[in-house]
Amino acid sequence: MKTFSMGGVHPADNKISCDAAIENFPIPQTAYISMSQHLGAPAEPIVAVGDKVKVGQLIANASGFISAPVHSSVSGTVKSIETVKDIAGNPCKAVVITVEGDEWSDTIDRSEDIVREIKLDSKQIVERIKECGVVGLGGATFPTCVKLSPPPGKKAEFLIINGAECEPYLTSDYRVLVEMPEQVLIGASIMMKALNVSKGFIGIEENKPKAIEILNGYAAQYPDIKVVPLKKKYPQGGEKQLIDAVVGRKVPSMGLPIDTGAVVQNVGTALAVYEAVQKNKPLFEGILTVTGECSNQQKNFRHRVGTPISAIIEATGGMPENAAKVISGGPMMGKAVSNLDAPTLKGSSSVLFLTSEQTKRQEEYNCIRCAKCVNACPMGLEPYLLSKLSRAQRWDDAEANRIFDCIECGCCSFTCPSYIPLLDSIRYGKGQVMKIMRSRPKK
C-alpha cells in the first residue's frame, strides 16, 4: 500500500458521519456572500443595493490574476454591500441578499442527467472554470484555473485527484465519491483535457473501501484514471505528500507541484469543475459535514455559500451541550470559529464540534528531547528546534533550518508528549522568515 516517505501521525479517524447521505440544506432567509472566498485579492462587487439577482448570477468580478469571481447562491434582492466578520472575526466585504424564492439563472443545466461528452477544448475549459469561480476545495481555495495553466516552461505530466481526506471526522469528499463518482471522474477527465495529459490518478485512503470499490467499478469507462489506494496516515492528503505517495516524486523546497509534473486537485474541486463545464453551473454550493461525537446530528449537507454557520447549527439541534470548540475544517488543520454568525464559503468543508476534553490544551512541560516531533514531521524538519529558534526570534538560524518548508500540518504539536504547542511558534516564525525572504532583492 502506497504512502508518503517520511513522518506522519495516526489520529483516530472518527468518520462518524460517513453514512449520512448528502442532503440539501434549506436556503437561508438572508445570504451573506463574502468577497474573500479564495486565496488572493477579494472579488469586486458588480451589483448595487436593490438589484434583483438570480441563483448563479455573477455578482462580483475577480480583481487580479490570483482571484476568483463570485456568484449569487440565492435569488432575491441585494440588501446591502457591507463589511461582515468571517469565522475568525476578521472583517471582509460581503454582498447581503434577502432571499425571495429560488429562481435559477437560465443558463444553468439543472437536469439530473450525467453529461459525459466533453465538448469544450482545452482553452475553453480553463476559461469556463475561471468564469464559474471554481477554486480548490481542499482547504487552500487556490483558483483552479491558475493551477490548470502551468507557467511557461513547465509541463504537466499527470493529474492527481486528492481523495485522501486524511483529516479525521471529515466525510464530505467521501460522500461525493460514493454518491457522485462518475461526476468526479468526468471532472477529472475535463481537467486532464485542459492540461493535455493522458494520465490521471485518484488517491484514496484505505479507510474508505467503499469509495475505492465504487471507483474501481468505473475502470473500464475511464481507463486513463487509476485509483490508487493509500495507507491511512496523516497528512496523506497534503499536496506534497500525496504526490510522493502516488508517483514517488518529491516537490523541491520552495517549489510547486508542477515541478514534478503533477497537478493536484481535490475531489470536491473535480465535482465543481464537472458542474461548471458540463452543466454551466458556477461554484455557489458546497458539501459540508456537520459532526463531532457531541454533535446532536451527523450530517452531510449541500449548502448555499453565504449560509450563516449559526443557521446550520440551529438546524441540527442547536449548539451541543458540551461542545467547547467549533471548528471549520478538520481537527488537524481547520480553523476555530469565534464568530458563529459568519457565513459559509466555497471552501467550507465542515462544522465540527469538539468537547473540552477532546480539544482543551494541556499545561505545557519541559521538552524531553524525545525526537517524536522530528520523527513525525512529514517534511523532515526538526520542529523542536524551529520552535525554539522562533521563540528566540533567531530568524537566520530558522531559515538555515528550513522553516519555510513547514506545511503546518500539526503533526509535531499532535505528537508532543510534553504538550508543547510547537506549531504555534513555528507558524509565527515561518511568517517572519518568509517576509524577510520576500523582501530580499531578486537575483
Partner: protein, 331 residues
C-alpha cells in the same frame, strides 16, 4: 452566551505524555528488576526502594525549595533514574551509598541544569560513575547470583566476567585458558545469570525490556543496534587478530553493562541525539569507546564512561547532523 474555545490548529492531541512514556520504561525494566529480586532478595529490594524514594525526594526538595516551582515528580522520570541507579550497583552495596548516588544523580546531574530535559549527562550514569570513583571497593564487591530468595546475603562474592578476564590477562594467562578454566563464562550462563550489578546479570530479562520498548515505540532501535554492531565489528577484528589477548564479540555483548547501558541508558531521550543519523553516530561512538576501555584501559568495563563521553558530544551532533529532509533545495 456560551463561551467557545479558540486556538490555532491542531485542535486535537495524540494523548501521549511524558508520564506514560516513563511508565513504559519502568515496565520495560520490570523483568530485570524481577531477576535481581529473585537472585538477591532483600538486598535488591532495599536498593530499589531506597533508590526510588531518594531520587523522588531529592527532586521534590530541590524543585520545591530551591527552584520554588511546581513539583515535577509527577512525570515519573525520577523513578526511572532511581531504578536504573539501583540496577547499576553491586547487589550487596549498603543502602546509604544509594542515597549519595541519588543526590549526585538527581541533584547534580539533573537539577543543576534545570530539571528534566535540560541535563547533558544521563543522571543515573553520573551517579554510578561518581560512586565508582569515590567508593571503588564497595562498587566492585560483587555477589554471585547463585542463591535463591532470602539467602543472598551469605552468598559468595566473585569477580565479574570482564574483571576476571582482565585480571587473568594481567597474570599472564591467555583468554583461551581463562575460558577453559572457568565454567561461569559459558554463553548460557552469561545469557541467563552471571555475576554483575543487580540489573545487568540477566541478558534475557534486558532483551525482553528492549523488545517491549520497541513494540511500544518508546525508543527507536538505532542507538542500541549501532552500539551492538560496532562492538561486534570492532571487538571481532581485535579477536580475529589475536584471540589470546582479546575476548570474542559475543562475550563482549553479553558482559558488563553492555545490554543495560545500550538498551536503557544510551537511549535516554534527553541525552541522545534527535535525528536517526545522529543516533547511529552516537551509537558507533559508544561502541568504539567501550571496547577501547575494555581492551586497552585499566577499568574492566567502560560503557558508562563511553555513554557519558558521547553525551557530551550530543549537542554538537544535533547541530551538524540533520534529518533527511523531504525536499531538495530548489535549484
Amino acid at each position: 452566551m456560551k463561551q467557545l474555545l479558540v486556538s490555532p490548529s491542531p485542535h486535537v492531541h495524540g494523548k501521549e505524555n511524558t508520564r506514560n512514556l516513563m511508565r513504559d520504561v519502568i515496565i520495560a525494566l520490570l523483568p530485570a528488576v524481577a531477576v535481581s529480586i529473585y537472585y538477591f532478595g532483600i538486598s535488591a529490594i532495599t536498593l530499589l526502594l531506597v533508590g526510588i524514594v531518594s531520587c523522588i525526594l531529592v527532586e521534590y526538595l530541590i524543585q520545591r525549595f530551591l527552584f520554588k516551582g511546581k513539583s515535577t515528580i509527577g512525570d515519573c522520570s525520577a523513578v526511572v533514574t532511581g531504578i536504573l541507579l539501583a540496577l547499576n550497583l553491586p547487589p550487596a552495596a549498603p543502602w546509604w551509598i544509594m542515597v549519595i548516588g541519588s543526590i549526585v544523580a538527581i541533584g547534580v546531574a539533573k537539577m543543576t541544569f534545570g530539571g528534566l530535559g535540560q541535563n547533558i549527562f544521563n543522571p543515573a550514569l553520573v551517579g554510578r560513575v561518581f560512586l565508582l570513583v569515590s567508593f571503588p571497593v564497595i562498587m566492585t564487591d560483587w555477589t554471585a547470583p547463585a542463591s535463591l530468595f532470602g539467602a543472598s546475603l551469605d552468598a559468595t562474592s566473585g569477580a565479574t566476567p570482564l574483571a576476571l578476564v582482565k585480571e587473568a590477562l594481567a597474570n599472564g594467562e591467555t583468554v583461551r585458558e581463562v575460558f577453559a578454566n572457568d565454567p561461569s563464562l559459558s554463553y548460557s550462563q552469561l545469557l541467563f545469570a552471571r555475576i554483575g550489578s543487580a540489573g545487568e546479570i540477566s541478558a534475557i530479562a534486558l532483551l525482553i525490556g528492549f523488545v517491549y520498548l520497541l513494540a511500544r515505540k518508546v525508543i527507536k532501535p538505532h542507538i542500541t543496534l549501532s552500539i551492538w554492531g560496532t562492538v561486534i565489528v570492532f571487538s571481532g577484528i581485535l579477536w580475529l587478530c589475536n584471540p589470546d589477548q582479546f575476548t570474542d564479540p559475543v562475550f563482549n555483548l553479553l558482559t558488563g553493562g553492555m545490554l543495560l547501558g545500550s538498551i536503557f541508558m544510551a537511549t535516554d531521550y534527553v541525552t541522545s541525539p534527535m535525528s536517526t543519523k545522529g543516533m547511529v553516530i552516537f551509537g558507533i561512538g559508544i561502541g568504539v569507546i567501550t571496547i577501547l576501555i575494555r581492551e586497552f584501559g585499566s577499568y574492566p568495563e567502560g560503557i558508562s564512561f563511553a555513554i557519558l563521553i558521547m553525551n557530551a558530544v550530543v549537542p554538537l551532533i544535533n547541530m551538524y547532523v540533520k534529518p533527511k529532509r523531504f525536499a531538495k533545495e530548489a535549484k
